[in-house]
């Protein structure tokens, strides 16, 4: 458990000292959301109706954008090789990276969502539901993203490939996430589906990703 915590702590320290990646991601998230009104017009009722979908799309894109940095630097400087040979199972290391990546991408996006809610004319209740849906759904997005990043890490030109592989697999998350926001009365089923999806994919992801990492280096 110590080693697991150390991996999470290492990722967080790297992000805190290494640069403004997280801030860039938040900036990207807010900018995508803020660009939409220019495309569909500033009408407040239209915006309020579309806002949950826009927030979800912005979060979706922000999560995909951050994928490449998950394993890339570790692959380049040899850390991945050490993790593979370490006493801690590679699955646990991947799980640590999953937790750290969620803390570094989903949490900042979640924290920035009130800003987008104001810009897109959402009321408090609908923002609350969107934030809850993001909180429940982003673990699944991160889990699928980790698999995509692990599969493409041994490729030099894999930057665009991971999002292309991950996007279709993430469609259920988007469907249940938006459904949970859209239907206040009937949101129970969507909420349960979304939570189930997150739990199962987070439990399953470390094994698939670690398998891909091992196979990629043979």
């Amino acid at each position: 458990m110590n080693a697991f915590a150390a991996i999470v702590a290492r990722e967080l320290k790297l992000a805190a000292r290494g640069g403004a990646d997280t801030l860039t991601l938040v900036l990207f998230f807010v900018m995508v959301g803020a660009v939409v009104p220019f495309a569909i017009g500033p009408d407040r009722t239209t915006l309020a109706r579309l806002a949950p979908g826009i927030v979800w799309i912005a979060a979706f894109l922000a999560m995909l954008l951050g994928l490449d940095r998950l394993f890339r630097a570790d692959e380049d400087d040899g850390t991945l090789l050490l993790l593979r040979e370490a006493r801690l199972p590679l699955e646990m290391s991947v799980a640590g990276k999953l937790v750290a990546h969620w803390l570094l991408t989903a949490l900042p996006v979640l924290a920035a969502s009130p800003l987008l809610a104001v810009l897109l004319a959402m009321d408090t209740a609908s923002w609350g539901r969107t934030a809850l849906a993001l909180l429940l759904g982003t673990p699944a997005l991160t889990a699928f993203g980790v698999i995509g990043a692990a599969v493409t890490v041994s490729l030099r030109r894999g930057g665009l490939l991971a999002p292309v592989l991950v996007l279709p697999l993430c469609i259920p998350v988007l469907i249940f996430g938006v459904a949970m926001v859209a239907a206040p009365g009937g949101s129970g089923a969507a909420l349960l589906f979304l939570s189930a999806l997150s739990l199962v994919s987070v439990a399953f992801c470390p094994f698939a990703a670690a398998l891909a990492l091992r196979l990629g280096s043979e």
């Binding site: 698999i147 599969v151 493409t152 292309v164 279709p168 698939a208 990629g216």
Partner: protein, 253 residues
């Protein structure tokens, strides 16, 4: 006693699946399989075009079904075949499973695209639109995206062995996710007619339509097997040619 006789005797499947044996037995199979496919297509098309009734609502356009349904069936069947081949790659590290996976991906993508295309042509006169965001159509579209992603991944690797193993992981994850996608999309929106061949109370269509449909499905399935065998043979020959040219380059002049 030699080492050879101590080793367990290979069963019929591993003998069939040995790449050298595969090249041996698959060549004489191709012609009969091709002829059987052509005959079934001839019979099926004759049934479909001349010897089956027009629908009382849809009229003659119902005949698109005889192309649409087999393609839709194959779009899922080929993914199943890829899933089995992926297991073969990951569990038994079988070289032929690799080749089967690689050959099946473009075939599956083509059948899926044809199912969408024929569905669009059928939807225009009957529903009045080429495309509708209905549950089944959407999940077929997502399936096409998954096929295309897998093909893109195959093409990104230089080393076919490593590519096969990595793609196998993606194929397995996709296979686990496809039922979830189907469930979520069905839940999201549904317009397409419900399942009408495999229901608990038997088929809901008259025999005059079912017979040509089954003949066409058999014909398309044989076509897939034929194309799969041909492209597997091509892939094996391609790998052999690459090995030979590498050996030739390594030899001192």
């Amino acid at each position: 006693m030699t080492i050879d006789s101590a080793a367990p005797k290979p069963n019929w499947f591993s003998r069939l699946a040995h790449p050298g044996n595969f090249m041996g037995w698959s060549r004489p199979v191709l012609w009969p399989l091709g002829i059987a496919t052509a005959l079934l297509f001839g019979l099926g098309l004759w049934f479909a075009l001349f010897n089956s009734p027009a629908d009382y609502q849809m009229g003659e356009t119902v005949r698109i079904m005889y192309v649409h349904v087999p393609n839709a069936w194959l779009s899922q069947f080929v993914y199943g075949a890829m899933f089995v081949a992926a297991l073969g790659t990951l569990v038994w590290r079988h070289p032929l499973a690799d080749v089967a996976q690689k050959a099946a991906a473009p075939l599956g993508a083509t059948f899926t695209a044809l199912a969408l295309f024929s569905g669009a042509l059928w939807g225009r006169p009957t529903w009045g639109t080429f495309w509708e965001w209905d549950g089944r159509m959407t999940s077929t579209l997502v399936l096409l995206f998954i096929y295309l992603g897998i093909i893109a991944l195959w093409r990104a690797f230089d080393d076919p062995l490593r590519a096969g193993r990595i793609v196998a992981v993606v194929t397995l994850v996709g296979a686990l996710d496809i039922p979830v996608i189907k469930l979520s999309v069905d839940w999201w929106n549904t317009l397409h007619q419900p399942e009408s061949i495999l229901t608990a109370s038997g088929p809901k269509m008259p025999g005059s339509i079912l017979t040509p449909l089954f003949v066409m499905m058999a014909a398309f399935t044989l076509l897939f097997l034929l194309l799969q065998l041909v492209s597997m043979r091509t892939e094996i020959l391609k790998r052999r040619a690459e090995t030979l040219s590498r050996q030739a380059a390594a030899r001192p002049a």
